[in-house]
């Protein structure tokens, strides 16, 4: 894994605007940055990232089977007691998963022990999907067409096809699927839209509704902003929040299939990390982790503290030799925490890079890289494209 200064396409901004990718700058800072790109060998992709991600996904499923039947763990993961049954039943019914993103500390053979270390699994509401599956894909096409990367250069990015195929596998042709997000959150809307396109490609009907406009009918079903009953709902809104909303009690009887299913509430929860470590100690792709009230001796002196529900780095605190940093976002501070052994991110220039591997179903299908000068990756961290050397 190397960062190569290829130089940006001269017209990338126009292309972004033309594609509707309006958030290439955020809060005045550049978000999409193709001035350099990450180069991987095929072996690094397949051996170091793809295979471990699929193995970890299977391990997470084993952990779910255990957690949903364990009151102590459901309590530790802050799943509201009233909804334990909902979560357990979604697992027992084998409600299928659609997608997720595992974030790794990985830097190739010259970084640490060369193994990708799972930092967290955003298995419920991962965003940056458009950048990964769409704009990054076109970047590579353009770079090859311009002769700036050789023919045969590849990219770990089968996401669009895999998502379309997953929809076709899960639902009868023509199934109406609702996509709910906060309409005014451009990144979230872009992710929902990208998946909506894939759903249509897979033969589904796709309909958008703002999460806040969802209603409950007299028959107890959910309905969209136009009163149309929702049979299948993709929601870019975390389960931990849904289970605390006023409509939480309506979910069980709503005859609605959710994407992601309710059992993902325990996968995207950072409480799964200590459970995984206990079930699979010394696994090369896991970092030692415990709940904050447990004995942390096994973690060593360098530790990261994470709220179990945090996203985009919020509430994360690093206490390590030469690396003390705390997120300024304290919105998750009320939640319980886990402690995880600190795994430094690889650095490229002044930047620290986190490697996101995308899952569709139980298979790994794509890669997106974010970098930040801060040690903690945040929602404004830059996105850079990658390629696999020909």
């Amino acid at each position: 894994m190397q960062r190569i200064d290829l130089g940006a396409r001269p017209d990338w901004k126009e292309k972004a605007e033309a594609a509707g990718f309006t958030f290439h700058h955020m809060d005045g800072a550049q978000y999409w940055d193709e001035s350099s790109a990450y180069a991987f060998t095929l072996e690094q992709i397949e051996r170091d990232l793809e295979a471990p991600a699929e193995e970890l996904h299977a391990m997470c499923r084993e952990a779910v089977a255990k957690i949903v039947l364990c009151e102590d763990l459901l309590t530790r993961l802050c799943i509201p007691r009233a909804h334990w049954d909902l979560v357990e039943r979604s697992w027992a019914n084998a409600d299928p998963e659609l997608y997720g993103r595992m974030d790794f500390a990985y830097g190739g053979p010259n970084h640490g022990d060369g193994k990708a270390k799972l930092l967290e699994y955003n298995a419920d509401t991962p965003t940056t999907l458009y950048e990964t599956s769409g704009f990054q894909w076109h970047w590579l096409e353009d770079m090859i067409a311009a002769g700036r990367l050789p023919e045969g250069t590849d990219q770990f990015n089968g996401l669009h096809e895999a998502l379309a195929a997953r929809f076709a596998e899960l639902f009868p042709q023509g199934t109406d699927i609702h996509f709910a997000a906060f309409e005014d959150a451009v990144e979230d809307y872009a992710t929902a839209e990208t998946i909506g396109w894939a759903a249509r490609e897979g033969g589904m009907g796709a309909h958008f509704t703002d999460i806040r406009k969802i209603g409950v009918t007299e028959a107890g079903q959910f309905a969209d902003s136009d009163d149309r009953v929702i049979g299948t709902l993709f929601k870019l809104y975390p389960w931990e929040d849904m289970l605390r909303d006023d409509f939480a009690d309506a979910i069980q009887e709503a005859q609605c299939q959710f994407l992601e299913p309710a059992w993902k509430a325990v996968v995207s929860n950072k409480g799964i990390l200590p459970v995984l470590w206990e079930m699979f100690p010394d696994h090369p792709n896991l970092l030692p982790a415990v709940f904050a009230d447990q004995n942390a001796d096994a973690l060593g002196p360098n530790v990261v503290e994470k709220p179990i529900f945090s996203r985009e780095g919020a509430g994360v605190r690093i206490r390590a030799e030469g690396a003390n940093e705390a997120s300024s976002d304290t919105s998750y501070d009320a939640h319980p925490r886990i402690l995880q052994q600190y795994a430094p991110l690889p650095t490229f220039g002044d930047d620290n890079t986190v490697t996101g591997v995308w899952m569709v179903g139980s298979e790994a299908h794509g890669l997106g890289l974010r970098e930040d000068r801060s040690l903690i990756t945040q929602d404004t961290s830059r996105f850079r494209p990658h390629y696999i050397e020909a």
């Binding site: 590579l140 669009h160 490609e201 703002d210």
Partner: protein
């Protein structure tokens, strides 16, 4: 042959270009449809001029539209809501449990050739609150009750039964806004609520 790790389809996902719509079919797809207020009006013009439907098609289509009406007509618990949605008269239907529900009158029907040579199909039409005519569930709206038109093939797709609630049927909504209040993260300008 070498394997390739990225998508083959170069489908350009254009953000903001209607990934979400009522039907997943392409806009250029259209089929011919004939619209009539009654079976008699249909039979009066059957076989005339360019019309390629017969009196028999008229009768069969009307019978089909009536059958769809019985199964999938918009059904309302409240007469006022029904009348407001359909610009006037609604008829009452007794359910087996003794409750009354309200259906709009069948204002007319349309017949058309389905794609792929699967023969003739029919749909009932109801008056809308805005003075147009629509198929059950509002899939297709027409401005008038007479003549030839072109509609999306999905206009003839099967309708969900309204005897039991089903996706995309319209249902009276009791309350809204019960999702979205509990979010912890995000919330600043364009910031993401996902991760």
């Amino acid at each position: 042959m070498t394997t390739r790790k990225r998508s083959r389809t170069a489908r350009v996902v254009l953000l903001g270009s209607a990934a979400f719509g009522l039907a997943a079919c392409q806009p250029e797809e259209r089929v011919e449809a004939e619209v009539f207020p009654t079976v008699e009006e249909c039979q009066a013009v059957a076989g005339l001029g360019d019309n390629d439907f017969t009196a028999e098609d008229c009768a069969q289509g009307f019978a089909e539209a009536e059958a769809v009406h019985r199964e999938s007509a918009p059904r309302y618990a409240d007469q006022d809501v029904c009348e407001e949605q359909h610009g006037g008269e609604c008829i009452v239907e007794q359910r087996t449990d003794g409750t009354s529900i309200f259906l709009p009158l069948l204002a007319g029907y349309m017949i058309g050739n389905m794609l792929g040579g699967r023969g003739m199909a029919a749909q009932p039409l109801y008056r809308t609150g805005a003075g147009n005519y629509s198929t059950p569930g509002g899939r297709t709206t027409l401005s008038g009750l007479r003549g030839s038109t072109q509609v999306r093939p999905a206009s003839f797709a099967a309708n969900p039964s309204t005897r039991t609630a089903a996706p995309l049927s319209r249902q009276a909504v009791q309350s809204r806004g019960g999702f979205g209040a509990s979010r912890t993260g995000g919330g600043f300008g364009s910031r993401s609520f996902g991760g």
